[in-house]
């Protein structure tokens, strides 16, 4: 690994002689420890000059190891491995310079570390609370090691929902905020949007998320052992859960240098692709639903049902497959199932091609074209991922750039469109369905034989990074192994985490009618926009329960 990074190491050593403390090889990449005060310059150099793609950042409470808090910034050196910058500060004064002004994509991750560890980021543009609820007590940071995972503090204040509905700006013309949300279910990504609208045009958007913060990282670090974590990882997201458990397994296998049998690698790839097909079909259906095209929704879900059956056939479950485990998979694919799987996948391919031709008619294209524009440079700055990124003309895909599982041996192409609007993101997904069908066929034809699992010996304090291309983009897991067969630190980053900040650019100036489809175009989750809830008036104090007879009273004003 270090050999691949040699040119980068040399370059950095020359430029930042006084900043760099040392280099260390970790599972899946290279760890570079730098002095805290140099962090922004080094990060800026890596991001802007070496043109590495920003992935995520993570805090860590390492007081029990060396009495310090640490921050990890992860970049992806495509084709080589992950490049991790680490800086640590003494626990007595946890202040670290922020890199957000140099790497805009780091905004949320730094704020999250602020919430969860109480690390202060100097010069952060908006040092506000991000993850924790508004009524959570100050100075209580759940991911610190001295916080008990099941402790539920009482509210510091009465919980409120901070929205103001109508802001009249004189006369008849007014701008009003329109709540859109609030629930959205991936790990950190429930959505509650406040659209500031003028007439029918969106002029600004505010966001309050993290309704689905369930404390997964804390549970994974305190309650569960290595072999139990994949199951909770799979429950991070009900749609792309297998990508999460795979990327956890990849991270731990890289950290502990476990050789996974080839058959297990192929089975993982197979299930990952099946998951992608079902997720994208789901998205196509939901996009149709949002455009009011119910028949398209029903037909695409009808096709999807075959894929669900296929998943049940191969793994035993329609969803949340539960077959991943560090060192391999738990369930083998039997020979007779392969033929049936081939038949199903052929059927899905034929039916989907018919549907695609019916969907991409001019009326649908008109609703998608030139709406929700995301320029290429903004996409890179905010580090968006997955089809959102590829719809803006950036040809990246973890399956090609940081190959995992069996993707090194498989033949596929990356779907890229340059326009950056809703239409190009849709086309990316449609192409990816066909590409995934193609991959599934290849795997079913060339499934190697052999064992499906291998045993391993846990070792403490190894760092591993794992990434898998989920339907929505790159899922990233960073972990530090710990003692007693448990994780010391587990950081999960789902793709929507990076994609949501880009909505601010995409939504500006969009007609209100196109706002839901624009939000959906990053595929945050299908049902969030369906679950629009108006918060105002829902307080029981504001509602009169009444029968028809008392209407007269009401009119009189009693």
């Amino acid at each position: 690994m270090e050999a691949k990074f040699s040119s980068i190491i040399e370059e950095l050593e020359n430029i930042f002689k006084n900043c760099i403390i040392g280099f260390k090889e970790i599972g899946g990449g290279l760890l570079t420890e730098v002095k805290a005060e140099c962090l922004p310059e080094v990060a800026s150099y890596v991001f802007n000059n070496l043109r590495m793609y920003y992935s995520t950042s993570s805090g860590s409470d390492e007081r029990s190891i060396d009495g310090k808090f640490a921050v990890y910034h992860v970049f992806s050196a495509d084709g080589i491995g992950f490049f991790v910058l680490k800086a640590s500060v003494p626990a007595t004064k946890p202040c670290i310079p922020s890199i957000t002004s140099k790497v805009p994509g780091a905004n949320w991750a730094e704020r999250e570390a602020m919430d969860m560890f109480g690390i202060t980021f100097i010069n952060h543009p908006e040092p506000k609370r991000l993850v924790l609820p508004d009524d959570w007590p100050k100075n209580l940071h759940p991911l610190r090691k001295d916080f008990e995972y099941s402790y539920r503090p009482s509210s510091s204040s009465e919980p409120t929902i901070s929205t103001s509905i109508d802001i009249y700006v004189g006369g008849t013309e007014y701008a009003s905020t329109l709540p859109l949300g609030p629930y959205h279910p991936a790990l950190h990504e429930p959505e509650y949007f406040e659209l500031l609208i003028k007439g029918e045009e969106v002029i600004d958007v505010k966001y309050r998320g993290f309704h689905v913060h369930r404390g997964i990282e804390k549970i994974g670090e305190s309650k569960l052992t290595y072999n139990q974590v994949p199951f909770i990882a799979e429950r991070i997201c009900g749609i792309c859960g297998f990508a999460h458990s795979s990327s956890y397994c990849i991270a731990i296998e890289r950290a502990l240098k476990i050789d996974v049998p080839e058959r297990a690698q192929y089975i993982r790839s197979l299930i990952l692709e099946i998951e992608r097909i079902h997720s994208h079909l789901l998205w196509v259906g939901v996009a149709c639903h949002l455009l009011g095209f119910e028949t398209g929704f029903m037909q695409s879900w009808r096709i999807r049902e075959h894929v669900m059956e296929l998943a049940e056939l191969l793994t035993g479950s329609r969803k949340t497959y539960g077959i991943n485990i560090p060192g391999g998979v738990r369930r083998d694919i039997l020979e007779p199932y392969i033929d049936r799987a081939k038949k199903v996948i052929k059927l899905v391919e034929d039916e989907f091609k018919v549907l695609r031709d019916k969907l991409l008619v001019p009326e649908v294209k008109v609703r998608l074209k030139e709406i929700g524009y995301l320029p290429k440079e903004d996409a890179r700055k905010l580090a968006v991922l997955g089809p959102t990124m590829r719809g803006s003309g950036i040809a990246r895909d973890v399956r090609k750039d940081q190959p995992y599982c069996a993707y090194r041996d498989l033949d596929f192409r990356i779907a890229v469109y340059d326009e950056g609007d809703n239409l190009s993101r849709t086309l990316v997904r449609i192409d990816e369905i066909l590409e995934s069908i193609n991959i599934v066929k290849q795997i079913l034809d060339n499934l190697p034989s052999g064992p499906i699992r291998t045993e391993f010996e846990p070792k403490p304090y190894r760092i591993g990074v794992g990434a898998a291309e989920a339907p929505r983009g790159e899922v990233f897991h960073l972990l530090i192994t710990g003692e007693r067969n448990r994780l010391y630190r587990w950081r999960v980053r789902a793709p929507t985490y990076n994609n949501i900040p880009a909505l601010k650019i995409m939504l500006r100036g969009v007609p209100l009618a196109d706002a839901p489809i624009t939000i959906a175009s990053i595929d945050p989750c299908f049902s969030c926009t369906d679950r629009c809830i108006l918060i105002k008036d829902l307080d029981h104090n504001y509602v009169k329960r009444t029968s028809l007879l008392s209407f007269r009273k009401f009119i009189k004003g009693d």
Partner: protein, 160 residues
Amino acid sequence: MARINPPFKKSPWIFHLNTGGCNACDIEILDALTPYHDVERFGMKLVGTPRHADVILLTGPITRESKIKVIRTLLAVPRPFAVLAIGSCAVGGGIWFDSYATIGGLPNLYEEMRHKYNFEPPPTIYIPGCPPRPEAIIFGAAQALGILKKKVKREVYKED
């Protein structure tokens, strides 16, 4: 267990309320609407606002952040209505039953609402599973509507 006979037996309008679930239950609910299972044959219709709802499909363990919004939504539903708690999380908190960020399932929420808002819990059907199959969801809905009888009896474990 007597068969319940709510006024919305023939036309239950459902409102889908995710309280911090992982999505798996939610897509299985949507799956029940689509051609393969098609719950519209029972007159079920997905509505966009709690004002129109007869049956609330509640998924997820109810996180701390979403709690107040869930409470307000439940208070905004015109009576009579029923609740289906779908998935292990809604039933008892699931894998996060004791996490700092959730309140651990619907029963805990009812307990709190009873005290704070004087809220009498509506008829509730619990559907476990992670996620429950669409068939299980339809079966639960049929029980809530009084189309089918319950097949299990409630039993309380007592230590001898």
